[in-house]
Amino acid sequence: MDNITIAIAKGRLGERGLELFKNTDMEIVREENSRKLVFKDAKGKTTYIFVKPSDVVTYVEKGVADLGIVGKDVILEENKDVYEIMDLDYGRCRFAIAGFKDRLSDKKNDVLRIASKYPQYVQSIFENRDQRIEIIKLNGSVELAPLIGLSDVIVDIVETGNTLRDNGLEILEDLDQISARLIVNKVSYRFKYDVIQKIERILGGE
């Protein structure tokens, strides 16, 4: 069987993905609190590398990793040229536009200010809407932006909606559905087709 490299998003989403390989011949054993970023399975055939979520897509597009496990939110934001072959069916949430309910978010001739961690995605959503926008890129606590007058609305991922409610915000519009996905480099897909099919089966596909 061919050697294969899988990029895993650091954090909860990646950890759950890794659990799916438990009790298969691709399982890896990691020491507690290890800071290593590269692991191999017992036979040394499968290599796992742990990187920042947004870098998973880059690694796969550039072919240094054949496969990647990463959230759909990151795939949409990065918009890279990769195959997206599986929905891993966990980490479900959605993108949404949120803001104050009683305030008009449709400003037509005025500029709508949107705070988000996902500027490219916001751009793509508003591309064909007749609305001038300004995107304010933030790295965290996006809900804060409308409260302190930094933006009119936000675009963010929403799981339960609790954080929004606690801050007096409401969902104004639901956007794309999010969950963990398996992505593949286009060249690897052709050269390592059989292994990739096997991994699809391990991860619960047909």
């Binding site: 599986m86 060249v187 052709r190 087709y193």
Partner: protein, 316 residues
Amino acid sequence: MRYTSISEELEVTKFKKRVEREFEGYFEKNGFNLIEPRIFQKYDMYVRSNFRQDSSRTVKVLSGNSRIYILRPDITTNILGEIFSKWDGEPPLKVYYNSKIYLNRPDGKILENYQMGIESLGEDVFKADQEIVHMGTRLMGTLGRPVILELGSSKYLDGLFKELDLDQEEESEIRDLISKKNRYGLRIRLKELDLEGTVLDHIFELQGDMREVIQRANSHPMNSEMREAIDELESLMEGSSNRYSSGEIKFDLSMLPDLDYYDGIIFKGYCLGVPNKILSGGRYDRLTEEFGLRVPAIGFMIDLDLVTRIRMEEER
């Protein structure tokens, strides 16, 4: 950090030139003649005949009398314009090119890139398909690493979509899912559209080993356009079986063309360990109609910079 010295750079150029000469020699040996595309094209002509392309990416130039020209953004349509102004479809024409193209990059800089490729015009479809695919495989074979030629036909999906009652938006949504090999997303969408169990539902099974793909395709219903796609691929397979081992060619009927003027066989060449395609091409009879005369036309483009890089690594 150390930068490459000028003498090292010249070594690379020398190496690249050697590969170029080797390829050009191969084209000429097979009866292809060099064609030099014009560098300036009239802007309004370009916009009229390439309404699908994003014309903001073209590099504009003002002439002395304030007419707008563009620097050629691609080679194929450029040389077709030139050829069809002086050629009436016979005898068959075989040309190759090796020139630069110019495009605006998103960061505002101008991209200049070499493009090398061949075009076969007016030749019998079956014969030309064979010849072009064979030449593509041969060039890929010089890389010294495992290579795969991925072969499909735009006619298969085009034909299939004609059987389905979908509006334009639904069709492009489905094409997008197919182009991402997004099996689960496709399944959900097909369920919503009440298209479960159709050939579309099995489209990703129609890739892999040549014989198996043909066999599986034959077990599904086909209209005449889809049938044509299969027949063309099949004859290509038979013609090729004694030339190269089947491992080098994979069929993929779920493959979508990069350019929307392709109609017929389409192909991409990959090399192990290189994340981008090295070679891409296909049949584009439909495009020739826009130049006033429909003739059989097929060609491919090869990324010479990538080829040079791989061969330098291999030969060192």
